[in-house]
């Protein structure tokens, strides 16, 4: 035992004597390689986070120096019905839109997994909205939802004798109309992720079920669904995170209106900061967004026990 430790000690000292040049040289190169990106991110992500948090405790309009307010901005937000409305809209969009698009994309992925002909054309059609710029998508849907008789939806409804609907111009229909667009846009990626993990399921599970005489329905609910649980959770979390960052769509479709019926937290940040120039209050809003999303991400990493490599 004791000779062993001695051996190991001498071994490690000789190694230490021999290696420093290489490790040191390597270390320098490692730092050199990582430095540009690290400095860039420290400057344009790290520093702004700190500035956001600091500014959120001040009153700042860009013309006069910031004035310390303590928690006043957060108190203002807590009493601001529009801010609560924005949070609520984000919440509704998430709770209505995400389950629907998850169900549709799961169904489509299972269908696609049957290896039918024309698979790739179909995948392209479903995935296209994900690659297209949201601004362009907003323009297309603006026209589809056009409240005049020439909007595509009103044309279709006209066939069934339904009178013209206001859609985005109606306080009660605007949010559902926006949610429909987010569903349409979000299906493609979710479907692709499901498809990838469907193809990763061990076929032996199905073969074993076949031997036991399981029906297709049983196989789906007893094998497929449980095997897809982790990926579903992943899709759920990333969708919620994405949902809280909806901005381009709202800005171009509705401007948060009518009567704040479609405003979301990012749109409130934009308005408060860049239309009203209340930078302190706007950073307080963005800190709230930051906390919501970071808590959600950390919480989900805990649950999945997901290490990042």
């Amino acid at each position: 035992m004791s000779t062993n430790t001695v051996d190991r000690q001498t071994l490690s000292t000789t190694r230490r004597r021999r290696t420093p040049t290489l490790t040191q040289r390597q270390g320098r190169w490692g730092l050199l390689f990582a430095a540009p990106a690290t400095v860039q991110i420290a400057l344009w992500t790290g520093l702004p986070v700190l500035v956001s948090i600091i500014l959120s405790f001040t009153n700042y309009d860009m013309l006069n120096p910031p004035e310390f307010l303590g928690f006043d901005n957060y108190v203002t937000l807590a009493n601001d019905p529009v801010f609560w409305k924005a949070l609520g809209n984000n919440f509704i969009m998430a709770i209505v839109g995400i389950p629907i698009s998850i169900l549709i994309s799961l169904a489509l992925a299972v269908m696609l997994n049957q290896g039918l002909r024309g698979n790739s054309i179909f995948r392209t059609a479903v995935f296209l909205p994900h690659v297209t710029a949201t601004v362009a998508i907003a323009m297309i849907w603006l026209w589809i939802y056009s409240p005049g008789g020439n909007g595509l939806f009103n044309i279709v409804l006209g066939f069934f004798g339904v009178p013209n609907q206001a859609f985005l111009a109606s306080p009660s229909q605007a949010l559902p109309s926006v949610i429909l667009v987010t569903i349409w846009q979000g299906i493609g990626l979710k479907m692709m992720i499901y498809l990838a993990s469907l193809q990763g399921i061990d076929q032996q599970l199905y073969e074993a079920a076949d031997i036991d005489g399981a029906s297709a329905v049983q196989k789906f609910f007893r094998i497929t669904i449980p095997m897809l649980k982790p990926v579903t959770f992943f899709i759920l979390v990333t969708s919620i995170v994405g949902n809280f960052q909806t901005f381009d769509l709202i800005y171009n479709l509705t401007n948060g209106g009518p009567a704040n019926s479609t405003t979301v937290i990012t749109y409130q940040i934009y308005q408060t900061a860049f239309q009203q120039f209340r930078m302190g209050l706007a950073t307080a809003q963005s800190v709230v967004l930051l906390i919501v999303l970071v808590v959600l991400t950390i919480f989900s990493r805990r649950i999945t026990g997901g290490k990042d490599d």
Partner: protein, 325 residues
């Protein structure tokens, strides 16, 4: 049908030797018949499935078809009370009219420049950092990696205000003094459009994942052969992750081309507008002339769609793989 006929026959002939042979033959035919009916059943369900998928693809693609059909309609048709589904005449000149009303060429050029610069910078700086974090042991590497991971969680909307202020108060730029006062800094300049997005933490993370699966032996062999660290990286290790490079390039290009909020905030002159921002501004210009707006939208959407057709596999792998890792 076959199921109900055969069991009876089997029962009747049971017991005798002849019966056994008959039974075997009968069972064989029954099996075949079953197989046949099962295969027709399967074929029917496959046809039904295909039809369903065609309908779904049509619905998913319909907004794009509608965009295109509208872009070639005449103005009277747009405003007529009973607009036909299919355009009566194809007015390609809508595109030239839209181009006259708004400089989509300049917008597209600007977006292209930003997308290309961000693609290159993400490839260069991202792969360097990813390589260092995956393959080189150095002091502070775990701290840097932790920092990159933390940065990935930060939503852009949470830091957009300080970023804007930083652009506005860059010292000695745009008439600013040392303390960033007196002028407009980088506001409404190319610097504002290009600098903040040079590297995304997410791409560094992706590169690290790509490099982790490369063989370390190659690196050591290159070192033993006397290659410098820089040469080992550029000539030996970086070429190993070429597919990964393409993935990051596509993601970076897409992000550059489709970006909207940042150009909206930091530019004011027409000459610096990006394609998405230009399209959004053009909406005010076009008003209710949706044929012109859709012509502009087509121009803004088509480059990405074409690129997607060419690199479909890499795109999907990029979006899906990056999500799953």
């Amino acid at each position: 049908m076959t199921d109900t006929v055969f069991p009876g026959t089997l029962d009747a002939s049971a017991g005798t030797e002849q019966g056994a042979a008959e039974r075997k033959a009968a069972a064989r035919t029954a099996k075949q018949a079953n197989k046949r009916s099962a295969s027709t059943k399967r074929r029917i369900s496959r046809v039904a499935l295909t039809v369903l998928l065609i309908v779904v693809s049509f619905v998913m693609a319909l907004p794009f078809v509608w965009m295109f059909l509208t872009s070639v309609r005449s103005s009277p048709e747009i405003f007529s009370s009973d607009m036909p589904m299919w355009p009566a005449e194809w007015h390609w000149e809508n595109f030239t009219v839209a181009l006259e009303r708004a400089p989509f060429g300049i917008y597209a050029r600007n977006s292209f420049i930003i997308a290309v610069v961000h693609t290159i910078s993400n490839l260069v700086f991202g792969s360097m950092a990813g390589y260092a974090l995956a393959k080189i042991r150095f002091k502070g590497s775990s701290v840097i990696f932790g920092f990159i991971l933390a940065s990935m969680m930060i939503p852009f909307y949470a830091i957009v205000i300080p970023e804007f202020l930083m652009i506005r108060f860059v010292p000695f730029a745009g008439g600013n003094d040392l303390f960033g006062q007196g002028g407009t800094g980088w506001y409404d300049t190319w610097w504002a459009l290009l600098i903040p997005g040079l590297v995304s933490p997410f791409n560094i993370f992706l590169f690290r994942q790509f490099f982790i699966s490369t063989p370390t032996e190659l690196m050591e062999a290159a070192r033993i052969d006397g290659a410098s660290e820089a040469r080992t990286f550029v000539q030996i290790m970086a070429p190993l992750i070429r597919p990964g490079m393409l993935t990051v390039a596509l993601l970076a290009f897409e992000a550059g081309w489709n970006n909207f909020l940042w150009p909206l905030l930091v530019t004011s002159s027409t000459n610096l507008r990006t394609i998405q921002l230009g399209l959004s501004v053009f909406r005010q210009e076009a008003g209710t002339e949706f044929n012109l707006l859709m012509a502009g939208t087509t121009m803004a959407a088509v480059p990405m769609i074409v690129m997607f057709f060419f690199f479909q596999k890499q795109f999907v792998n990029g979006f899906v793989g990056s999500g799953l890792k």
